[in-house]
């Protein structure tokens, strides 16, 4: 009975560890390069086989420990004393906890106070962690009698003691604690995490597990629970604000949308700056799918394949920030690497099955809208003489709600066919009414056994835009098998099906665009029946018939679906060839296929006859690699390991699409239904191969000085033969000062410095060397037209090289109550492969060359501490990121390079400036005299553009700060994440457009006398909507006079704002309460006889609060332009309203 209990308890402990402390879990594939001896685990396993005993231990306790096998009993009866003797040098001991069950524990210092007393009594209590949650399976030892009990799964224990004694409480993952027994028979104990222990082993490049203290570079690791508390459809969003040095921006508030990530700043001028994603050692497709305009006008954001990873399956996420950490991944790692390790089985010695389940529901509400005005209706001018002017799409029309009647969008016609004026009423909720409550339901069930884990996740999302959403189903299998003690096989396979019947659309023609620009006299609720009566399926009914689509028609009849099947997997074989020599072989595949389908119903403004698009995408990447490792300890406290490895990467992609821009039969969505000659065909395929060889080694001294060296050579098929081989090395040094100088100061617990230098080479896209011909589609009638790119390719390209330096320190104080990690880095990217623009008069618009040098330099600081500990616990973590980007040089004769444009804003790269600088129009100023610097207007009192574009700002922040707080009291845990970004600018095209057409409240001024309008005469009639632009005009004698020309609001706002990017650009500073979760963990008593454990329920919320310097209504984070082929941050075009989310999460084990 007792044995059974113990096993159950230990199992539970391990499962909990799985959730909370995954870093401590050492999978069978671990490499430990410390000794030529066998690992302690192996020795223990061997004894289990020989003597039929069970050892219970914390993986972290035994990890990285090596022993001589002959020191352990090999035959006869089991001799615990001999084992204890062998364990002693390792600081461990063995404790009997059952008939054939033993615990392997750390030995502890006995700084305890003995208390006197004679009574025989039973002491009861609960063992909890720093969050107040029970710690099942904790071992409680009476120091006097060595008697031992185990806490149950609620952390409860009861132990019989004789008089004065002290109890030693030990639990895996926590620092040992000794307590004196007083007179009380009740003794609750709170354990603190053993920080040193938990961070001991981290996953680094190539999936190699290393002791963190040996690393000479900054690395950030988060366990799965951190990305899983407030679940996001795209796991990348869950990293936002949590890791120093990482900048994450959602392209929109849609959960399935693209997410832009940059690590330590953008370094590439022409290529994307997205990091490489590696799941279980296998690089996977992460790149955002380029937004597309399949057919017609609206832009579709298909999101990113990385969102196919289910947060429920994630054991840990490691961010390799610098080129240094990532150098072993080669080319694509120059932008950093995000390593995702998925959950695996329980471990070899744990028997039985565990089933866990969790469920979450999150509801999204459209939250931030521009301040629309509802005082004036449709019209081109307040003083218009044309009675039909109130049919305009601009909002300069007559005053609403004053009892007047005007001809308007839904006016009936009289007997003569003339439009009849109707009540002129405002509909202030016309925009809000359209959006629905979005929802995301996630359900996950996982079955875990000793050497496998099978997990299924279902996600159902409904967007805030009607008729949009996505569904996702994941199946994840991790399994391992030992062929014999020296050969192990493991595999991870994930299959995801991600589908959507309709994606939300962006930019012009999208529902948001239509609603935002709709005059206030339109009741959007009336638009729900979007077919013209009697013409169902043939003719839409719209607020601007024939020119603008009905927003509901866009949502329901202009649909954009996709269906993606995504498989990632790997098989890995590890062999111990000889003493100290292991060989790993692995092949991994990332494979996906996606079919897209877009429908455009008949009568759509852009496609009056309807249209149809189908597309298929296929992408695969296979990586096959080997790693041979030799490790040895040398005399005089030295140890080393060396590894050599190789990798072959094969990338394949192909795509086909067909678009029919006119259909013959309405509603028949088939390419064969295309009007003759209206089909556009496209197909493309590409392949690329990179062969690589690499070597790395570590030399360590006394476990406090570590020197790492690595080297890699790549051969890329995309580069010309004379430059296709490139070599790049790295070196790093880690010194544990606290161990080196044996610092045993009360305040300082741990001190480490790290230094490193590295290079990373980078190739280019396939087929970048020679120009060639394609045929344009559709054909001109039955005539073919050959065409070619106007970018002149280059058959003499060299690889790009990024060089980086990094210096950092990790400090821990007050017995780990306070920790600080700080890093300074600089990265120079040279020889960038960019398309340098040339005048089209040269025959080509650009040529591909090696040019440019970009420097990113910055600070990252992470602080974590526990200011309050006790019954009430407060943990705080903060991370600070500051990156400075500088364009050191471009190339001879070119000092500026146009990276791209969005809504007229130019993203220019200029020498001495920064990537992300935005250049736009501003106003002319008086050049001299007393009014110098004031705005200079033209002769008729209108704003005029300065002659050249000026730098309006940079969209990158000055710094960002993420703060997490965790408060624990009893069963309750409250988590908050505050995201603060300081500085940067964004230009809002939306603001400019809405303002220039009189759609927002800030255009009310001047419209009539009540709103400060001036009385004036426009030449034909007397009006009361006069305005004067603020500025000076030339007086004709070389001087300047204050402008007194009166103009009307329509031209005032149009002139004053529309011409100037600078007047529509705002500070991007914001503070967001990004995540809040309140969790209640039920105790065993509360769940009663239910066959469940670890029942927890959480209330979760996202974006509960947001403050932005720009004012409400415009979210600086999602200020993007989503257009065909690109997502451009810094310029806000037509997008979705920002959302606020609430939800609930339920988790339990069976």
């Amino acid at each position: 009975m007792k044995l059974k209990l113990n096993r159950y308890v230990v199992l539970t402990v391990l499962l909990l560890l799985e959730v909370w402390q995954v870093k401590a879990h050492t999978a069978p594939t671990a490499y430990n390069y410390v000794s030529e001896k066998v690992s302690l685990i192996a020795a223990l396993q061997k004894m289990e086989d020989i003597f039929h005993v069970n050892f219970n231990y914390n993986d972290a306790t035994v990890a990285n420990k090596f022993v001589n096998l002959e020191q352990f009993p090999q035959q006869g009866a089991f001799n615990a004393a001999k084992v204890a003797q062998a364990l002693q040098p390792l600081g461990l001991t063995i404790v009997k906890i059952g008939h054939t069950d033993y615990a392997i524990q750390r030995m502890t210092a006995s700084n305890t106070i003995t208390i006197t007393g004679d009574d025989h009594k039973v002491i009861n209590g609960t063992i909890t962690n720093d969050k107040g949650e029970p710690v099942p399976g904790a071992l409680i030892t009476d120091q006097a009698t060595k008697k031992m009990v185990v806490a149950d799964d609620q952390g409860h224990y009861a132990i019989e003691v004789e008089g004065a004694t002290t109890l030693l409480i030990h639990a895996v993952g926590f620092a040992n604690k000794t307590v004196k027994t007083g007179n009380s028979t009740m003794l609750n104990v709170q354990l603190l995490p053993d920080v040193k222990d938990l961070s001991a082993v981290v996953v680094t490049a190539l999936g190699i597990r290393r002791e963190e203290k040996a690393l000479g570079y900054s690395i950030a690791t988060m366990d799965g629970s951190k990305v899983n508390t407030v679940k996001d459809v795209n796991v990348v969003n869950s990293l936002s604000g949590k890791v120093a040095g990482v900048d994450i921006r959602s392209a929109s508030s849609d959960p399935g949308g693209s997410v832009l990530i940059t690590i330590r700043g953008a370094s590439s001028i022409a290529n994307n700056n997205q990091p490489l994603f590696v799941v279980d050692g296998v690089p996977v497709a992460s790149a955002n799918r380029s937004p597309n305009v399949p057919v017609g006008q609206v832009t579709v954001d298909y999101g990113s394949p990385i969102s196919d990873v289910s947060p429920d399956d994630i054991a840990s996420v490691t961010v390799l920030k610098g080129a240094s950490a990532a150098a072993l991944y080669g080319s694509r790692a120059a932008n950093g690497v995000i390593l995702i390790t998925t959950k695996s089985g329980n471990g070899k010695n744990k028997k039985g099955l565990n089933v866990s389940a969790n469920f979450s529901a999150i509801y999204d509400k459209a939250w931030q809208f521009p301040d629309f005005q509802s005082e004036f209706g449709a019209g081109d001018a307040t003083g218009s003489v044309d009675p039909t002017n109130t049919l305009s799409t601009a909002s300069w029309g007559p005053k609403l709600n004053d009892g007047s009647k005007h001809i308007q969008w839904n006016s009936p016609t009289d007997a003569n066919g003339n439009l009849v004026a109707t009540d002129w009423i405002a509909y202030p909720n016309r925009v809000k009414d359209f959006y629905e409550t979005g929802s995301t339901y996630t359900s996950n069930v996982a079955i875990t056994g000793s050497n496998f884990r099978l997990s299924y996740t279902n996600l159902q999302n409904k967007g805030i835009t009607p008729n949009t959403g996505l569904q996702r189903n994941n199946i994840n299998l991790a399994a391992g098998y030992d062929l014999n003690p020296k050969i192990k096989v493991t595999t991870n396979i994930a299959y995801t099906n991600n589908t959507s019947n309709n994606r939300p659309t962006f930019n012009r023609g999208s529902s948001s665009y239509i609603l935002y620009t709709m005059p206030a006299n339109i009741n959007s609720k009336l638009l729900k029946d979007y077919w013209k009566s009697g013409e169902d399926g043939l003719q839409q009914w719209s607020q601007d018939q024939g020119s603008t689509d009905n927003p509901y028609f866009v949502a329901y009849q202009l649909t954009n679906a996709y269906n993606r099947h995504h498989v990632t997997g790997n098989v890995q074989l590890t062999m111990e060839l000889a003493k100290g020599l292991t060989l790993m072989g692995r092949t991994g595949l990332d494979w996906y296929t996606e079919s897209d389908e877009s429908k455009r119903a008949v009568s759509a403004v852009q496609n009056p006859y309807g249209a149809y698009y189908i597309g298929n995408l296929f992408g695969s990447e296979q990586n096959t690699d080997f790693l041979l490792t030799y490790k040895k300890s040398l005399p005089k406290d030295f140890a080393f390991f060396v590894s050599v490895g190789g990798n072959r990467m094969d990338q394949r992609s192909n795509s086909q699409s067909q678009a029919a821009s006119q259909l013959v039969m309405p509603g028949v969505y088939n390419i064969s239904n295309a009007a003759a000659g209206t089909i556009t065909n496209a197909s493309y395929k590409a392949t690329k191969r990179i062969n690589s060889l690499y070597a790395m080694g570590e030399l360590s001294y006394k476990s406090y000085a570590f020197l790492d060296l690595s080297a890699r050579n790549d051969w890329s098929s995309a580069l010309p033969a004379n430059h296709n081989s490139y070599f790049y090395p790295s070196a790093s040094l880690s010194l544990i000062l606290s161990d080196m100088f044996k610092i045993e100061h009360g305040a300082l617990s741990y001190a480490k410095v790290r230094l490193n230098w590295s290079k990373v080479g980078k190739d280019t896209d396939p087929y970048s060397l020679y120009n060639s011909f394609t045929f344009s589609s559709p054909d001109w009638g039955d005539v073919k037209m050959a065409t070619f790119s106007t970018t002149l390719k280059n058959n003499n390209l060299k690889p790009e090289i990024a060089t980086s330096y990094e210096v950092g320190t990790d400090l821990k104080f007050f017995n780990n109550r306070l920790g600080i990690e700080a890093t300074w880095y600089t990265t120079d990217s040279r020889n960038q492969i960019i398309q340098i623009p040339t005048t089209m008069a040269s025959g080509y618009s650009a040529r591909i060359i090696n040019a440019g040098e970009i420097r990113n330099r910055g600070w990252e600081v992470a602080v974590h501490g526990t200011p309050i500990s006790g019954k009430f616990i407060w943990d705080i973590g903060a991370n600070f990121t500051r990156n400075r980007n500088k364009v050191i040089s471009l190339t001879n004769g070119i000092t500026s390079y146009l990276q791209g444009t969005a809504e007229g804003m130019q993203y220019q790269v200029r020498e001495g400036e920064s990537l992300g600088d935005m250049y736009g129009n501003t106003w002319k100023i008086v050049p001299d005299g007393p009014y110098k610097g004031q705005e200079l207007l033209d002769e008729t009192g209108h704003s005029q553009n300065a002659t050249s574009l000026v730098k309006i700002g940079n969209y990158n922040p000055d710094f960002s700060l993420g703060i997490t707080n965790t408060f624990t009291y009893g069963h309750f845990t409250l988590n908050t994440l505050i995201d603060y970004r300081q500085g940067g600018k964004f230009f809002s095209y939306m603001f400019m457009n809405l303002l220039s057409d009189g759609r927002t409240k800030n255009t009310l001024k001047g419209r009539d006398l009540a709103h400060g309008g001036l009385a004036w005469n426009d030449g034909t009639s007397d009006r009361t909507d006069g305005m004067i632009e603020d500025g000076y005009i030339e007086d004709g004698n070389g001087g300047y006079v204050k402008n007194t020309n009166i103009t009307d609001p329509e031209s005032f706002y149009g002139d004053y704002y529309w011409k100037m990017h600078s007047r529509n650009t705002f500070s991007a500073t914001y503070v967001k309460l990004r995540e809040v979760s309140l969790t209640y963990l039920f105790s065993k008593e509360q769940t009663g006889r239910l066959p469940i454990s670890n029942l927890s329920i959480s209330l979760i919320a996202r974006n509960l609060f947001s403050w932005s310097a720009a004012g409400s209504g415009y979210d600086p984070e999602t200020a993007m332009t989503i257009k065909s082929g690109s997502i451009t941050p810094g310029t806000a075009s037509w997008s979705l309203p920002y959302t606020r989310s609430y939800g609930v999460k339920l988790g339990l084990n069976f």
Partner: protein, 485 residues
């Protein structure tokens, strides 16, 4: 140990890189194509953008064919730098066409390519003045990425010499032109010669103020019709039809390329409508639609009402939308037989000759200025499907009958060139006719003389740009280019 493995693997891998060139061979594209596939491209990329600009861009406002009632920046003459990427892009296709033809010894195609080349370069220099010419298009061949701007007075003679040579080559070669891919003339070399020579006349007239030999060259050409065949009827027009099937082959005003609301911003200008009304011109209903309401107007009682350019609130003119003419329905179509991408017409050639005969600079056997003038008008009326009876009535009107004045001649040429290239604008800036009203809100008090250079030139080709500006004069729309000085 490490070294041995590394060296062994190095050998392995370097052997593996042998098939890299196969992996990096683009399977999607061809390394070379037959030249006719670029003949079609060069023609489409030349003719359609040329027509597109004539209708939707600045030339339509400068020539007072169109008034935009919203987004009226072009009317106000606040013209910013104008990109020339489209024109030079067409020239790049054309150059590749030329190179492929030349390498195959296909003289018929090199000659056609030369004609297309002259057409485009002439268009660019007519728009801007000094432009990259002799060093243009050489990024690939000679790595010239900062081409020098040549002076217009040097460019023009070179263009004319090229046309002469192309005409001669086509006269002598027996190699056939692929009829399917010659979208303009269905493989008839003679028609290409006619186009080359008509274009030659157009360019000679443009530079006639500055060139001592322009008129004698013209005289020489009209004296030798067999050596210099010219357009003889509308069927010789250099005009590319629209198919109306896809956006790329459709009239710019149709729904495949533009929203109806967008085209609704384009109203016929008061100047053209009033002229056509004054002349009882049967082309008026072809160009413009009658107002939808004839009651409640404020200033203009006519059935056809054009909007003055560069006035305040143009959409409110005459009482608003229902009291303003729209463009005629054909301009909203994706394809109409009356609308082609016109590069040059027989009517224009008639007016060119009429003008030089009227000035007494050239004589044409069997023709007078009046006969050529009448032929020009007739050709235009025919092109718009005006009946013979209406044509006769029109020509018989006193206001239409030839009166020997340049203003009458140019006014008729201006009507005939309605939305055909920039010719209406170019004749106005050359002759001052018709006399246009600049409009109260116009930024300058004259019709612009040129486009400003593309703003990108200041980034990509600054030194050459600066040299050109210092030679030609400030980069402003008022600055006069060589042949206008």
């Amino acid at each position: 140990m490490k070294k041995i493995y590394a060296i062994g693997a190095l050998f392995l891998l370097s052997a593996c890189t042998k098939n890299f060139s196969d992996i990096n061979t683009d399977p999607n594209t061809a390394t070379t194509v037959n030249p006719q596939y670029l003949l079609s491209t060069a023609l489409v990329k030349t003719a359609y953008p040329y027509q597109n600009e004539a209708f939707l861009d600045k030339p339509a406002e400068a020539a007072r064919y169109i008034t935009k009632v919203r987004n009226e920046g072009d009317d106000l003459f606040g013209w910013a730098g104008k990109t020339w990427d489209g024109y030079y892009g067409a020239l790049t296709y054309n150059k590749t066409f030329h190179d492929l033809a030349a390498s195959g010894g296909m003289l018929q195609y090199t000659a056609i390519s030369d004609i297309i080349r002259v057409f485009n370069f002439a268009y660019i220099t007519d728009l801007y003045g000094d432009i990259p010419y002799s060093e243009a298009l050489l990024s690939k061949d000679s790595s010239i990425v900062h081409p020098r701007y040549d002076q217009q007075e040097d460019i023009y003679p070179s263009l004319l010499a090229t046309l002469t040579a192309a005409n001669d080559t086509l006269a002598s070669t027996t190699q056939t032109i692929d009829a399917d891919y010659d979208l303009l003339y269905g493989g008839v070399a003679l028609n290409w010669r006619k186009f080359a020579n008509a274009l030659h006349l157009r360019l000679l007239l443009r530079m006639s103020k500055k060139s001592a030999t322009a008129y004698t060259d013209m005289q020489n050409m009209v004296n030798n019709p067999s050596k210099y065949p010219l357009f003889e009827s509308n069927s010789d027009d250099a005009a590319l039809r629209y198919l109306g099937v896809n956006a790329i082959d459709s009239w710019p005003g149709g729904n495949l390329n533009s929203k109806a609301t967008e085209i609704d911003k384009y109203k016929p200008s008061k100047e053209i409508v009033d002229t056509l009304l004054r002349l009882n011109d049967p082309r008026l209903p072809v160009f413009a639609a009658p107002v939808s309401s004839t009651t409640g107007y404020t200033v203009d009682a006519n059935n056809y009402v054009g909007v003055p350019n560069a006035i305040s609130s143009p959409y409110d003119y005459n009482g608003g939308e229902t009291h303003i003419s729209k463009m005629a329905a054909i301009f909203y179509a994706n394809q109409n037989d009356l609308l082609k991408a016109s590069m040059m017409s027989y009517a224009e050639q008639c007016f060119i000759l009429a003008e030089v005969v009227q000035q007494g600079k050239v004589t044409v056997t069997g023709e007078t200025a009046a006969s050529l003038y009448n032929k020009g008008i007739s050709a235009s009326l025919d092109a718009y499907g005006i009946s013979a009876a209406n044509k006769a009535t029109y020509l018989a009107q006193a206001s239409v009958q030839y009166n020997g004045t340049l203003v009458q001649l140019i006014t008729q040429k201006w009507i005939a060139n309605f939305l055909k290239g920039p010719e209406g604008w170019f004749d106005q800036r050359r002759t001052g006719y018709p006399v246009f009203v600049t409009g109260p809100l116009a930024a300058i008090s004259e019709i612009p003389s040129r486009y400003k250079y593309p703003t990108t030139e200041q980034s990509y080709n600054l030194d050459q740009y600066n040299a050109a500006v210092s030679r030609q004069g400030a980069d402003e729309i008022k600055t006069r280019m060589w042949y206008l000085k």
